[in-house]
Structures are given as structure tokens and as C-alpha cells.
């Protein structure tokens, strides 16, 4: 099918060099730091797996990891079904389609710090639109800077606001690719709406949904900017997710060893989980 051609490596060379420069060299640095100890002045001492042990045992890491997992799970549970439901409810053709697609895509093109700032302004307790509405119209006490629950709800709702459209657009693309004949056959077969969803729409959306889940998992697990700008990781460290904690240690405290070890562990978890997700979701395809 494909021609065997080792000279194809020439085509791939620019990409290889560019990504290697950006990935391999920094990773080597990180690996380097992760197994060494320094007291400044470029003096390094072999530390072995000490940093890894320290991180893996540290309460702080466990806490951050726990928060991160909770965040990611909530995101997936909310955004995927919600995205699919919206895609199902969207018109398939007509004037409103481009309008819907454009407005839904807009949140994804806003710089992430602006997203954080926007929600900050939006939720200020007395002068923000949502903040005022919650505190003064509904009478529910709502202050992100004081109450961890409020902070958590806000960062989750913010992410739902920010990224559900990705799921919607992917699911929608899958839906419109289903030929009309399937719906016609289902009508002739007397199938109910639920049967149409279960036996026609959902199976045909499988590929796009796999992409959507993978992307949302990865990006929510690695998230940094939006929650950081919104809450700074607070109040206290109640919304300090994994990336936020890592940056604190690396760029804030310049603790090279622990930061490097944590980076490797973090990256490894992302890769492993992504691989697991991917295998699980495409497992059925290989069942003959």
C-alpha cells in the first residue's frame, strides 16, 4: 500500500529537528535535574531516585494530584454528555447552523488568561454580573476568594464554558456525516428516538467522541492558566491543581530537583492515562 522509502526521513527531518530541540533537550535537562541535588553555583551531587521518592511520598503532591483528578473527572462527566446533547439538538441545515457554530467556537479562541480575567470580573461578589446575581438577587453567599466550594464550582463552570464547545463541534461533525438513509431505514423499521440514538447516532459518533474525550482529558489534566488567573490556586491552596503546584515549585521556588522529578511523574501519568483511555475506547473495534 504505502511505498517503502527510507529517503522519506528527509521529509520528516525538519519536524524531527524542531520537535527534538523543543522536547528532547528540555527533557534531558529535566531528567538531569531530577536525579541530582544542587546547592547553587552549578555544583551538582548525585541524588539517585531521592527526589522521586520525596515527591511520591509528599502530602502536598498527593493533595494536588487528588484535586487534579477530581477536577478532570468532573470535567469529563459534565462536558461530554452535555456536548453530545447540544450537538443532537442543533439544526442540521439552514441559516442558523453557521451562526451556532461561530458563536460556539468563540470561547475557544479567547486567550486563556483573558478567560480567567473575564470570569474574575464576572464573579466579583458585589460588582460582577454573576457575583451580584448570586449574592444579592438569589441571596446565596458567593465569594470565590473566601469560600473553597465557591472557588471549585467557579473553576469547573468556567471550564465547561470554555471547552464544551469542542465536544459539541466534534460530536456535530460526526452527526452530520451520518447519511440520511439510516434515519429513513429507522423510520421504516419503526425505531424509537432512543433506539435511533443508541443504534445509529452513538456508534457513528464513536471516533469523534474518542478524540473529544482524549483531548478533554489531556487538556484538563494539564490545565494551568485559567484557574491560576482566576483563583491563583486559592483560597489557600484549595484550587491548586497539579500544574499550578509544579510551576510554583519550579519557577517560584526554583527547587530544581523536586520540580524535575514532579515533572516526569506528571508527564508519565498523563501519557499512561491517555494510553489507557485510548485503548479502552478503541478496544471494541478490535473485537472480531
Amino acid at each position: 500500500m504505502k511505498k517503502q522509502n527510507q529517503r522519506a526521513w528527509l521529509f520528516v527531518l525538519p519536524v524531527l529537528l524542531l520537535v527534538a530541540f523543543n522536547a528532547l533537550i528540555p527533557m534531558m535537562t529535566v531528567v538531569n535535574y531530577s536525579v541530582q541535588e544542587t546547592f547553587g553555583d552549578n555544583l551538582f551531587f548525585w541524588e539517585g531516585l531521592g527526589w522521586f521518592e520525596q515527591i511520591l511520598r509528599s502530602e502536598r503532591f498527593h493533595a494536588a494530584l487528588g484535586r487534579q483528578l477530581f477536577f478532570t473527572v468532573m470535567i469529563l462527566i459534565i462536558e461530554v454528555p452535555l456536548g453530545v446533547a447540544i450537538a443532537l439538538a442543533m439544526p442540521r441545515q439552514g441559516f442558523w447552523v453557521p451562526f451556532c457554530l461561530i458563536t460556539m467556537a468563540l470561547p475557544m479562541l479567547i486567550p486563556w488568561n483573558v478567560v480567567g480575567a473575564m470570569w474574575n470580573i464576572f464573579t466579583l461578589p458585589d460588582i460582577g454580573l454573576l457575583g451580584y446575581f448570586m449574592n444579592h438577587t438569589l441571596g446565596i453567599s458567593y465569594d470565590m476568594t473566601q469560600d473553597p466550594v465557591a472557588a471549585w464550582v467557579t473553576i469547573i463552570v468556567m471550564d465547561v464554558w470554555h471547552w464544551t464547545s469542542l465536544v459539541v463541534l466534534l460530536a456535530y461533525a460526526g452527526l452530520v456525516s451520518i447519511p440520511n438513509a439510516y434515519y429513513q431505514a429507522a423510520e421504516i423499521d419503526g425505531a424509537s428516538n432512543w433506539a435511533v440514538f443508541r443504534f445509529i447516532q452513538l456508534p457513528k459518533m464513536k471516533t469523534v467522541l474518542t478524540i473529544a474525550v482524549l483531548l478533554r482529558f489531556m487538556d484538563s489534566f494539564n490545565i494551568y492558566t485559567e484557574p491560576f488567573v482566576l483563583t491563583g490556586g486559592g483560597p489557600g491552596n484549595s484550587t491548586t491543581l497539579l500544574s499550578i503546584d509544579l510551576v510554583k515549585i519550579a519557577l517560584g521556588q526554583f527547587d530544581l530537583g523536586p520540580a524535575a522529578a514532579m515533572s516526569l511523574i506528571y508527564f508519565a501519568i498523563t501519557l499512561l492515562a491517555s494510553w489507557l483511555f485510548y485503548t479502552l475506547m478503541t478496544m471494541n473495534d478490535n473485537k472480531a
Binding site: 525538519p14 468563540l106 479562541l109 479567547i110 488568561n113 480575567a117 510551576v247 501519557l271
Partner: protein
């Protein structure tokens, strides 16, 4: 039927609310903002926008951002094109592993690379340059571009290539005059995503710049912390960052649903 169209309508309303608030706030004076809650600006002012358009620190932030984003998009797509072609048409030793390794870079937490990039780009003397940010963003944009382009290229039958060779086209001529037009929507989609992910990214852009190439995102965050919350100004700056995104979406609106399927559905 009616109930069904309520769902996307409500969702879009939900999406527009915070944006409306941002825009509304950008036209208010700081006094009005801090004095209390007003749904609609009572005293319209363009002062915030005027400040942004007249203060070099502000407008250079935008120019810097647009510059490195464009630079990154061009670089990413240019290097991705031959690589995607190779993955699509040829098999070679390690091709599957290479492809997979490329994709793993998209999965990397940016936080992991913050410090190493800072050191690396300082070491090669590129700190605080547009090129640094453009190159750094290639880490995740190039794999994405390769993935998207490969998908579109695989949709073009190999017979097209073979016919061109039989007709006597040299490879460069074939690629530019025949192949590229055939995948032009793929190039558009790849460029769109590169633009998008580079434009929105903050952490690396902020880490690798200081003054000369400072992106608008960094200018905004500095304002937020140091100047003690000039909310109206911040809102105006934020509103202006939405505009390039809106323009780009408008231009690719016909490809949006198709593009999000990455050519692979």
C-alpha cells in the same frame, strides 16, 4: 421541535453572558465599576480603549502577540507539510513510533516545560524574542499540524501523485501546483488550529519574554497584579484580544465542523 431548539439557544446565551459583561465593563469608568453593580454602562467612556491605543506598552503587546503567532503558524505548517506527506505516502523504519512520539508532545503539560524552556532559550540567546515563543509553541503545534495534514492527505488518492510523475512533473512542481490545491482545506484547518493554540497560550509565552517581545497576555497579567485592578482597562484589553479570534473564525466558518473532525471522520 421548539423545545429542541431551546437547548442550543440557552447554551449560546450562557456563552455570551461573560463576554457581554467583559465588553460592557470595558466601556465603564473605574468609578462606576467600583461604586456598585450596573447591568449596562451608565456613563459610556472610551477612555480605556484610548489608553490602550496610545500607550506603547499596551499596543505593542498586541503586535508582539500577532507577530509570534503568525510566525509560529507559518513555521509549523511549512515543516509539517513534507512530514505529513511522508507519513501519508511512505512507510519507513520507525515511522509509526515517530508519529506516536510526535503526538505525545501534544500531551505534555506546558508546566513541565516552563523552566527548561526558560533555561534552553536563554542559553541559545533567544530569550525575549518573538522567535523563541514561535519556536516553543512548535512543540505542540507541529504534531497537531502533522496529524491534521496527514489525515487530509490520506484522503487524496495516490493515483494523483503517480499520474503526475507519468506526466513528467518534478516533485516540487507536483507538490505546489497539484497536491497543495487538493488539500487546501486541510492546510486551512491546520493553520487555524496552529493560530488558535498559539494565540491562546500564556505560560510559555510569558516565561520566554520580558520586554521586547512581551505578549498582550503578559501585559494584562502584569496590570492586574501591580496597578491594583484597573478593571475597565483590563476589560478593554481583554475585549480587544477576542477580536482576532472572531475574525479568524469568521473566515473559516465553512470549515469549522469539518475541520473539527480533523478530516478523519
Amino acid at each position: 421541535m421548539r423545545v429542541k431548539s431551546l437547548v442550543p439557544a440557552l447554551y449560546i446565551l450562557f456563552l455570551m453572558l461573560p463576554i457581554y459583561w467583559l465588553v460592557a465593563m470595558s466601556f465603564k469608568t473605574t468609578n462606576e465599576i467600583l461604586a456598585g453593580f450596573t447591568l449596562f454602562p451608565q456613563t459610556w467612556t472610551l477612555a480605556n480603549y484610548i489608553e490602550i491605543f496610545t500607550d506603547p506598552t499596551w499596543y505593542w503587546g498586541y503586535i508582539n502577540s500577532i507577530f509570534y503567532v503568525t510566525l509560529n503558524t507559518v513555521i509549523s505548517v511549512l515543516v509539517a507539510l513534507p512530514a505529513a506527506y511522508a507519513f501519508s505516502r511512505y512507510s519507513f523504519i520507525g515511522d509509526k513510533h515517530l508519529f506516536f512520539w510526535l503526538l505525545t508532545n501534544r500531551m505534555a503539560p506546558a508546566a513541565v516545560f516552563a523552566l527548561p524552556f526558560f533555561q534552553l532559550y536563554s542559553a541559545v540567546g533567544l530569550f525575549d524574542t518573538h522567535l523563541a515563543v514561535a519556536l516553543a509553541h512548535c512543540l505542540f503545534n507541529v504534531p497537531l499540524a502533522v496529524w491534521i495534514l496527514e489525515g487530509f492527505m490520506s484522503g487524496v488518492p495516490k493515483e494523483l501523485d503517480e499520474t503526475a510523475y507519468v506526466d513528467g512533473y518534478s516533485f516540487p512542481r507536483f507538490f505546489t501546483t497539484i497536491f497543495l490545491p487538493a488539500i487546501k482545506s486541510g492546510v486551512g484547518v491546520a493553520a487555524f488550529f496552529c493560530f488558535m493554540f498559539s494565540w491562546v497560550e500564556l505560560l510559555l509565552a510569558k516565561t520566554l519574554t520580558a520586554v521586547a517581545a512581551k505578549p498582550i497576555a503578559a501585559v494584562m497579567t502584569r496590570t492586574a497584579s501591580s496597578a491594583g485592578y484597573e478593571l475597565g482597562l483590563l476589560a478593554a484589553a481583554g475585549t480587544l484580544t477576542i477580536i482576532p479570534g472572531a475574525i479568524v473564525i469568521y473566515f473559516v466558518r465553512n470549515y469549522i465542523a469539518k475541520g473539527f473532525a480533523l478530516g478523519r471522520v
